[in-house]
Symmetry: C2
Subunit: 312 residues, 2 copies
C-alpha cells in the first residue's frame, strides 16, 4: 500500500545566497540574491522532499555592530542574536520560496515552515577553551583591548573571537523528521543553530557560533537525508585554490578528501568545514554529498556541475 517516498534533499545555503562580496547588504539586495537559489529550490520541490539550512555571518555581524553602537538598551548575548537572524533569514527564505512556488505554478504546493532551531554543544569541549572563530566588525588594537571578550588577530585586523563548538545534536530533530515525513518543506538550523548546553533538565544558551555546514551534516544524519548539497560562492572543490596551478575536481573520494584536509589543503574558515561536513555525512550513511555554487544547484544534482564527494 505504501507509496514510494521521494528522496530527501538538504540544501545548505552559504552566506552569499543573501549578501554577495562587496555588497552592503540592504534588504533589497538580500531578496534579489535569494531568488537565484530559491527559484531552483522551488523546482526541486517537485522531485524531492526538502530541507533548507542557511548561514548568518554578515547578519549576525550587523546585529553585533548595531548593539555595540547603542548604550540605551541591554546588550543581548550572541545566542539571542543568532535567534534573531533565524527569524530574519527564515522569513526571507520562506517568503521568497512561497512567491517562487506561486509564480512557477508548482503543484502540489507543499506546506512550508521556517523553524527556530537550537543545537546542543559540549561546554567542556576544546572549542570553549580556545575561541577561534572571528565574528563581528574589524577592530583597532585599542578597541580589541577594551572589548570584554576574547579577540583574535586576522589579516584585516582584530576581531572578537568566539568558540565554534561541534554540534552534538539538533534539539528539533524529532520534529523536523515528522515534518519531512508529512511532506513539509522545512527551513531550519539557521546560522548553524542557536548553541545551547543541556544541564540536567534545562537548556541554556551559550556564547558561541556553530559552523552551519557541520550542523547541517549532523541534521542530515539525524533525519536520514539522502542528498546533502552545500551551495557556496565557488563552483566546487579546488586543489591549490586561487593559485596559478589550481585544479578543479569533479569528484573526490572520502579518502582523498580526508588526506587533503589533513594536509591543510583547504582554508579552515571556508572550504575546510564544508569538506569535513560532506565526509561526516557520507560516513554516517548518507547517499550523495555535493559542494557547488549557488547558481548551479540543479545542475550539480544532475551531475553536471559542482564536486561530488564519493565513498571510497
Amino acid at each position: 500500500m505504501e507509496k514510494e517516498k521521494r528522496e530527501i534533499l538538504l540544501v545548505a545555503l552559504g552566506g552569499n545566497a543573501l549578501i554577495k562580496k562587496g555588497q552592503a547588504g540592504t534588504v533589497e539586495e538580500q531578496f534579489e540574491n535569494l531568488r537565484v537559489p530559491i527559484s531552483q529550490i522551488a523546482r526541486l520541490s517537485k522531485r524531492y522532499r526538502l530541507i533548507i539550512t542557511h548561514g548568518n555571518g554578515p547578519q549576525v555581524g550587523n546585529l553585533l555592530l548595531k548593539q555595540e553602537s547603542c548604550d540605551r538598551v541591554p546588550k543581548l548575548p550572541l545566542e539571542i542574536l543568532v535567534a534573531q537572524t533565524q527569524g530574519q533569514i527564515g522569513y526571507m527564505i520562506e517568503s521568497t520560496l512561497d512567491s517562487e512556488i506561486m509564480k512557477q505554478r508548482i503543484t502540489p504546493q507543499r506546506p512550508l515552515v521556517s523553524l527556530i532551531s537550537y543545537v546542543v554543544v559540549d561546554e567542556k569541549g576544546p572549542a570553549f577553551r580556545n575561541p577561534t572563530k572571528p565574528i563581528g566588525p574589524i577592530l583597532t588594537e585599542d578597541e580589541a583591548i577594551a572589548l570584554p571578550h576574547p579577540t583574535i588577530k586576522t589579516k584585516k585586523g582584530y576581531r572578537r573571537a568566539v568558540a565554534s563548538p561541534k554540534p552534538i545534536t539538533i534539539v528539533e530533530k524529532r520534529e523536523i523528521s515528522k515534518l519531512i515525513d508529512m511532506d513539509f518543506i522545512v527551513v531550519c538550523c539557521g546560522g548553524g543553530g542557536i548553541p545551547v548546553i543541556r544541564e540536567g533538565r534545562s537548556f541554556y544558551g551559550v556564547d558561541a557560533v556553530i559552523d552551519k555546514d557541520l550542523a547541517s551534516a549532523k541534521l542530515a544524519k539525524e533525519v536520514n537525508v539522502d542528498i546533502f548539497l552545500i551551495a557556496t560562492d565557488v563552483r566546487g572543490i579546488f586543489l591549490n585554490y586561487d593559485r596559478p596551478d589550481q585544479k578543479y575536481l569533479n569528484t573526490i573520494t572520502v579518502t582523498e578528501a580526508s588526506r587533503y584536509l589533513n594536509e591543510g589543503h583547504f582554508p579552515e574558515g571556508s572550504m575546510g568545514p564544508k569538506i569535513e561536513a560532506a565526509i561526516e555525512f557520507l560516513e554516517g550513511g548518507g547517499k550523495r554529498s555535493i559542494i557547488t555554487s549557488i547558481a548551479t544547484i540543479e545542475d550539480a544534482i544532475e551531475g553536471k556541475g559542482g564536486t561530488e564527494i564519493i565513498r571510497g
Copy 2:
C-alpha cells in the same frame, strides 16, 4: 475508531510575560519572567492541544533604537525587525517550555516548534492612510521632525507612528492546522505576525505592525481553536479601570462588551483590541474567550479567575 481529540487552546502572551514594567529587559529578566506563564502552559499541554502567540513591543522597540544608533550597516525595514523578534522570542519561549516539560516530567512530550509567521494585510485599507500606532523610543520635537517617518504625539512625547492594519489571513494557517492535528505544540504569530501584502503571485513586506491579539483571534478562527485566552498584566476586564469606582467583571456578554467598546470604555492601545479580539473569536464560532493575567492562566481556564467573555 477515531480517538476523541483534546480541545485546542490558544494562549496569547502579552509583552509583560517577558519584560515587566520598570525592567530594562535583560535576557536574564526575560527568561525569569517567562517561567510564570510557561510553567502553567507546560501542565496545560497534558490536557490541551496548544498554540502560543506572543507580543514583541519592547523587543522591536529595542531593535529600532539599536539600528538608529548605528550608521555603519544598512537600516532594516520594520517587517524584518518583527521577523527578528519572532526568532528571539520564539527561541526563548520554546527553550523555556522544553525545560519546564522536562523538569515537570510531563509525558508524553509533545513535539514542539516555533514558526516564523507572516500575515496578509490590506495596503489600501484605512490603517495605511493614517498611521496611529506609536513605536520605538520617545523623541524630542526636533528628533520627530528630522525622522523620515510619520510621528505621533503621545503623553510622554513624540514617537514614530506606523500603520496598524487588520490581519486578513495568517499565511501559515494550513501548516499550523496540520501541526495541531498531529499534536504539535506550536509557537507562532509573534508580534502579530510579519505584515505582508500579496501582489499577484508574490508577497511583499510592509512597514506596519499588526495587533498581536487581533492576529491571534484571526488565527484562532482559521485553525478552529476551542479556547482563546489572552494573558496580560491585569486580572481581567474592569469598567472605569484605575479609577476609584473601577468595577471588575467575572463575565461579560458580547453585546455588553461591544457596547462598552463603542462607548470608549477601554483604552485603544491596550484593553480595547483584546476585547475586540475576544468578540471576533466568539462571533467566528469559537467556544470560550478569556482575558486574564499571566499568573492566573490555569485558574482562569478552570473558571476561577479572569474575565470570560460569553455569547449573548
